[in-house]
Symmetry: C2
Subunit: 261 residues, 2 copies
């Protein structure tokens, strides 16, 4: 499971406050906590700062990579911000995210073209958010094809089929899960990736729904997630799902969780 | 989700002790606890008592049905025990279980023939326990066909694809999950049903694995389970999985869990 740590996002108040005063210690602690908990990429998002976004995103990358030996997930639709961050980034970043929305697509595709970066391909278009499995598959196919034409290998593409709240439509869970299965089956070698928390919007005990949903998605083939890796309940559900999906050789990662406990 | 409450099983020491002294209160409490927690059938098993099994199984049925208005799951391979239990049973029982093992198959088929009972069809044959999806599907197909020839409708058949420990073979989880999906797809209208706990044999934090696995199985179509309905962790995972699988209209069952809490 490819884990993107979601915590360093300026839409969260504590992170926003820390950025405003350039609190290096706060950002480093948050990066280290996520790295120690098993993150593979550290997401950085400074979208709310508008004109300052490029400067802040590159500061975040430098701050994070000053303390952990991990690549970042550059979370912005802005080519200026992405380019500023790329100028200081070490290693292989992830672009979060390209979509089929025309402005975002045209802005980001040239940056991704023929690079070796990983890229999240979000199932969203100018026609709005997809509801059905077929709508997701249709967008995924267009994004995968255009990325492949730009020499991005399937193994670098993480399709995000877009989780929507099951309380607004009882079928939103199933439509997402079936999209994961069909994308993973139809495009062998591609990855899938998503944030979970929208699924439980408006319902009680959201943590239970989020971790149950990720296990169900792993059963359908999901192999990436944008989560808080310091959330022990979520991470133990992911480790459990990985064992049960046959992805944890000799059950080593799972049993290591419990060593010494 | 069709819930079979598993607690009244004489292989459990406390139940065994209670049966020996015909402790009506103990059995009734256990039946009531499972009914209150959402069981649809109450499993009764007296297999360890051998020659006494028919008398004890019918006593268990009468004791259970003396306190709860639910049918029983008659858990025995012995036609004598099943017939003794059926003689006193009220309502529509479940037979747990027929299999493709020749002795069991020949003994139970005449009892099930043209009845309106529900029946668990266990994916086991004289060649041993199935390992792969295909082996499970092969047994399931033979059992479904022969039951249908004996006028048992698909809606009365609960195929148990047989859970095996993932610690003995990393693929046992996936092979089971894929069998559920293929059985539910190939035989539209049939049900699937299983006990969970074998999956986690030999591994730490078994409860986490059991409830994670049932969520994954629900994602693949599982619509029945033999569980302890008084296990709140397991039942809340089932309710969560049902919402997320689009089987809980307006999320009513799930949100009702949290009313007043």
């Amino acid at each position: 499971m490819h884990i993107v740590g979601e915590l360093i996002n300026a839409s969260r108040q504590a992170v926003n406050d820390a950025i405003k005063v350039r609190d290096v210690g706060f950002i480093k602690d948050m990066a280290k906590k996520q790295a120690d908990a098993g993150a593979n990429h550290i997401d950085v998002n400074a979208g709310v700062f508008l004109d300052e976004e490029p400067a802040i995103l590159s500061w975040l990358v430098q701050t994070v990579q000053g303390v952990v030996d991990l690549p970042c997930s550059l979370d912005s639709p802005s080519p200026k911000a992405i380019e500023a961050a790329l100028a200081v980034h070490q290693g292989r970043p992830m672009i979060n995210s390209i979509s089929l929305e025309e402005d975002r697509y045209q802005a980001l595709l040239p940056i991704i073209d023929s690079s070796d970066m990983k890229v999240i391909a979000l199932c969203m278009s100018d026609e709005g958010m997809p509801s059905t499995t077929d709508e997701r598959l249709n967008i995924a196919e267009k994004l995968i094809n255009s990325l492949q034409q730009k020499n991005v290998p399937l193994d670098n593409i993480y399709v995000d089929p877009l989780v929507q709240p099951v309380c607004t439509n009882n079928d939103f869970g199933v439509e997402f899960l079936n999209a994961v299965e069909q994308i993973m089956t139809k495009f062998k070698g591609v990855h899938t990736m998503c944030g979970m928390s929208n699924i439980s919007y408006g319902l009680p005990n959201r943590k239970l729904l989020n971790k149950t949903f990720i296990a169900m998605a792993v059963a359908k083939g999901l192999d990436g997630a944008i989560v808080n890796p310091a959330d022990e309940g979520m991470m133990s559900a992911i480790y459990a799902a990985e064992v049960l999906a046959g992805r944890d050789e000799f059950c080593m990662n799972y049993t290591n969780l419990y060593r010494g406990k």
